[in-house]
């Protein structure tokens, strides 16, 4: 019989759950937990410099490793600082457990010092949340939290732990780990067999099919089966931002990202398709453009583990609730059993059309005097052989990364797709590096975004987190500026960033290194220096302020209504 305090049980439960890295920031309400943490040899605590950073680190760790990311913060402001990061993880279905301190139960509701209704504030942005009432709730809720976060449609779970529940004076018998069972939670993994059959038949009869991948294909680890389905039916493959890497970006069948800044061929293929086989997508507005004009000719097969995602915006003709990998497995079994194949001649005609769209070469861009952001991403791609884990922030550089850095593997692109959180990239890259110390982790960011969580440079020095930071420095909030130029008659309102710090000096002030690149001919060497440097390195690359992300869909249009760049 092991007697432990609530704080000790918390640490022990995390150990038993296999947690090796905990990102966090201490404070009054979690003093006892931090004290218990000192005695743990299994959990390495990474002290962030802001709670938002800690929670984004847990997110980046989760996205890049596939494990549950975990962070620990104090009550009140500690908890509220994680809100943006929790919402980020929620929108992208990232498995994360956030442990927040809380004032003691007798003080709850009294507006005590550093008290905030954490469960209330986070309610709309969590998969589930818990408020512990006693020390013995801690192991129980933590186990459930990890189970909930990582199964079904993943998502963040918050556990609010009042201070009296972790009181070191009060000891309890530690409940040994056992299998988590929840009577009200039982995600569907296998698809309805009849529906999967219908899907197989539809796809075999399709003249203009397309395979559309989303974040669910990445999170569901469906890569191998996705490739098999694409090969068997010679399907063109398109992907949402979150789905990038679920199918190799360098495969000839891959047409790129679709949606607002999708490629010409990806959006055309969607618009003209007669059958869309959608795996783990949620048809959000950045993908569909005007829903009423979305893919008028298509029969839509929609596979998703979350029934609420199906027919939420776009009505599915063949809804299939299930795990991406499992359903594709069922699909392959059915087509192999019945030797279902599609009409090769129809597909050939379809591919001829697709190749014509491809000839438009929509990602071509003009190189002016200044370095173009596109060429920076291309150079980073070349220097890393396309193998790096790449985190981005939000804005133009994010779209350029999605378009010009083809990912061959899933879990390599860390980006805030749903919430669009500036300031996400740097801490996410830190979390990824902690979880993948032997991988090259690069951050492609902008001069706006990077300043939103720049304080984590200190964390990187303390813990030897050697991420490589490439700032696409155009001295503006590029994406907003693009909209102002295109849709607001060029009225530039509050998007100029003329008072940026000297980023290299900042790097050095924090004990790191870096350099500025102003000329095209210096770019490759600087990137190589960064990648080979034994430590964090910032390359501040001055680039074209007026570069635009193109193609770009026209608002309230169909998938194929796009502004295109010059030929």
């Amino acid at each position: 019989m092991t007697m432990m305090s609530g704080a000790q049980m918390l640490v022990r439960t995390l150990e038993d759950l296999g947690v090796e890295h905990l990102f966090g920031y201490p404070g009054g309400a979690v003093l006892d937990i931090y004290d218990a943490l000192l005695s743990s040899s299994k959990i390495k605590h990474v002290l962030a410099r802001h709670e938002q950073g800690a929670a984004h680190m847990a997110d980046g760790y989760a996205r890049s490793t596939g494990k549950v990311g975990c962070c620990l913060v104090t009550s009140g402001p500690g908890a509220t600082n994680t809100v943006t990061a929790i919402a980020t993880a929620y929108m992208d279905s990232i498995p994360m457990v956030v442990i927040t301190g809380q004032v003691g139960t007798p003080l709850i509701g009294s507006d005590a010092f550093q008290e905030v209704d954490t469960v209330g504030i986070t309610r709309p942005i969590v998969k589930h949340s818990y408020l512990c009432q006693s020390a013995l709730d801690i192991p129980k809720f933590l186990r459930q939290a990890f189970y909930l976060a990582s199964t079904g449609r993943p998502g963040p779970v918050v556990i609010d732990v009042p201070k009296d529940c972790v009181n070191p004076q009060r000891l309890f018998e530690y409940p040994e780990p056992q299998e988590v069972k929840m009577k009200t939670y039982n995600p569907t993994l296998s698809g309805h067999r009849g529906q999967v059959k219908r899907a197989a038949k539809l796809l075999a009869e399709a003249k203009r099919p397309v395979l559309m991948l989303g974040g669910g294909a990445v999170l569901g680890n469906a890569k191998d089966k996705v490739r098999e389905v694409a090969e068997l039916f010679n399907l063109p493959v398109v992907s949402t931002l979150m789905g990038l890497g679920a199918f190799s970006g360098t495969d000839p069948n891959f047409l790129g990202m679709l949606g607002m800044h999708g490629t010409y061929e990806a959006n055309e293929v969607m618009d003209k398709a007669d059958v869309i086989f959608a795996i783990g997508v949620r048809f959000d507005d950045r993908v569909t453009n005007d829903v009423s004009k979305f893919c008028p000719a298509a029969t839509i097969i929609h596979v998703d583990i979350d029934p609420a995602s199906i027919s939420k915006t776009v009505v599915a003709d063949v809804p299939i609730v299930g795990d991406a990998d499992t359903v594709l497995g069922q699909f392959l079994e059915i087509v192999k059993d019945g030797s279902l194949r599609n009409d090769v001649r129809a597909i050939d005609t379809w591919w001829q059309q697709i190749n014509k769209w491809r000839e438009r070469n929509c990602l071509h861009y003009h190189k002016g005097e200044l370095i173009e952001p596109q060429e920076i991403v291309e150079a980073i791609y070349k220097a890393t052989n396309g193998k790096a884990i790449v985190a981005t922030d939000v804005g133009q550089h994010q779209m350029f990364t999605a378009l010009y850095y083809p990912f061959e593997e899933p879990h390599r692109l860390l980006t805030s797709g749903g919430l669009g959180t500036m300031g996400y990239g740097f801490p996410a890259a830190c979390g990824a590096k902690v979880g993948n110390p032997d991988e090259q982790v690069v951050l492609i960011t902008g001069d706006g975004s990077f300043q939103m969580n720049i304080q984590e440079l200190s964390t990187c020095l303390e813990f030897g987190i050697k991420v490589k930071i490439f700032i696409l420095d155009n001295h503006t909030l590029g994406m907003v500026r693009q909209w102002q130029r295109m849709f607001y008659q060029g009225r530039i309102s509050s998007t100029n960033l003329n008072y940026n710090p000297d980023f290299v000096a900042v790097a050095k002030a924090y004990g790191h290194n870096g350099e500025v690149v102003e000329k095209r001919e210096d770019l490759e060497a600087a990137i190589d220096r960064a990648l080979n440097y034994d430590g964090l390195y910032i390359v501040d690359i001055l680039c074209d302020t007026d570069a635009k992300v193109l193609p770009m869909q026209q608002a309230r249009g169909s998938m194929s209504d796009m502004f295109l760049g010059e030929e």
Binding site: V119, G120, R123, P124, K127, H128, S129, L131, Q133, L148, M182, K183, T184, Y185, D306, P307, A308, I310, S311, K312
Partner: protein
Amino acid sequence: MRHIVSILLENQTGALSRVVGLFSQRGYNIETITAAPTEDPSITRITITLFGDGRTIEKITKQLHKLINVIKVSILNEDNTDGAVEREILFVKLQAVNQDVREEIKFICDIFGAEIVDITPVLVTVQFVNTSQEVDRFQKAIAEHSEVIETVRSGVCGIARGDHSLHV
């Protein structure tokens, strides 16, 4: 169309606020809501009435199912069911100083099957239990004969007709 949604919910801290929060978060309006424990005190039953088309109701049902504390969700007046028995309770306090008014109130109560549950020299308190529609009619009728001082309605409580039942 008006729908009656019945929800079985784990009776835990914050569970009810998750259900209510879902409606505001997704932009759906609740017409009435009632909640109380069932024969099993660890389970709460909520009845919600709301207006919406079939697709909206389907979306709400799916979102409700996603809440971890929700055990079961049932739309009581769905096409394939036998419909539902629904009741609402109304209490109304009426100005009744004058004898004529008192008699008129008594007369209307008898017609509708309402009960007078409290009386003072100046006020009469009436209780009426029926469908929301009947409650509306009663409220209208009684208001024509006496000044309404206070009204409270419970919101709808409903249960499916026939052999269909909602339990764990």
